[in-house]
Symmetry: C2
Subunit: 194 residues, 2 copies
């Protein structure tokens, strides 16, 4: 019905991200995708070799988005870099919620080399976050003797679980600031702070 300037292939990718995020990979049929595009089911195969191609493609787009957001964090004060990294991560979840949801949730249906590629990208991303914590501790910007493993897990837990509630959010940057403040100072009453 509506005319579209986007190519059918790019519309297919966008619909796949949307439907995989909403109904799950196995809950979405090629027929569903075709119907969303207004074409016949068989025509979908003009653009892909198989259904898993779409999943692999979206997972790759997710990895690229998270890595690119981290790339954009400028050099400088190590604690500030971590703060911006959390903001960047939450920004991707907010701005590309469907792709992020697939990256966080549906990737597990990948098989073969695409799965290995995904895992490599994911581990690389987590190592980059870990490195930021290590640098910040080494620079004295964070608590000496910090339990880095759990600090990274807490960071990623907050950042990753966000896909479950981010749809209802208006201002991501405020959310990021609130979490950063909590992560830095904790919820406890500190005698030394106001």
């Amino acid at each position: 019905m509506e005319s579209s300037t986007a190519s059918t292939k790019s519309r297919l990718s966008a619909e796949a991200a949307r439907l995989f995020a909403q109904r799950g990979y196995h809950g979405t049929s090629i027929g569903d995708l075709a119907a969303a595009l207004g074409i016949q089911k068989a025509s979908v195969y003009s653009h892909i070799k198989g259904k898993e191609d779409l999943l692999a493609e979206i997972a790759l787009a997710g990895a690229e988005a998270f890595h690119a957001a981290l790339d954009a964090v400028p050099e400088g004060d190590p604690a500030e870099r971590l703060r911006l990294a959390l903001r960047a991560h939450l920004g991707v979840v907010d701005q590309q919620l469907e792709v992020a949801t697939v990256w966080l949730n549906e990737w597990r249906y990948l098989t073969g080399p695409a799965r290995e590629r995904f895992l490599a990208d994911r581990h690389h991303y987590e190592r980059r976050i870990r490195r930021l914590f290590e640098d910040a501790v080494a620079a004295g910007a964070l608590r000496a003797g910090l339990d880095i493993r759990h600090a990274v897990l807490a960071f990623l837990s907050i950042g990753n679980w966000a896909y479950t509630w981010m749809a209802h959010t208006i201002d991501v940057e405020r959310e990021a600031e609130a979490f950063w403040s909590l992560l830095m100072h904790g919820v406890g009453a500190h005698p030394s702070e106001p």
Copy 2:
């Protein structure tokens, strides 16, 4: 092959939790479940009316497990109750990883009244966690003026995202302590603390 003292129905529930957690609800067929039990596909319908019954049942079991764990937290010091609540939550994820995974991830395929029931249980659980934070702030055990909304979200993010990595964990209680310490004191360097 193996003799089993457990009823077929209870084995069915356990296999459903295992397979739904591993392959997803839509990625698991009634035939898969039957094969895991060593019976015919049609025989599964002696125990359930439809596939979604199994999902609803496991989701309910998840809600009961999380609520029961919270029920077991004794009255007393409000910050201590929160610490035990985090430990309880992570304990359920650790000890009932498959049920917890369905409760956290696969519930979204529920429809109708079962879905509404799930959401009510889930919101109730989150309100109970929120109440613990409110009580602790009121008692002066946490920072005055604490951003409770984000504190609850951070608590639940850490607790819920744990299903993704908990399988590789040996000692849950140590994990819980580590996260509680982080949540209380933060990662930042505090002039007033060692």
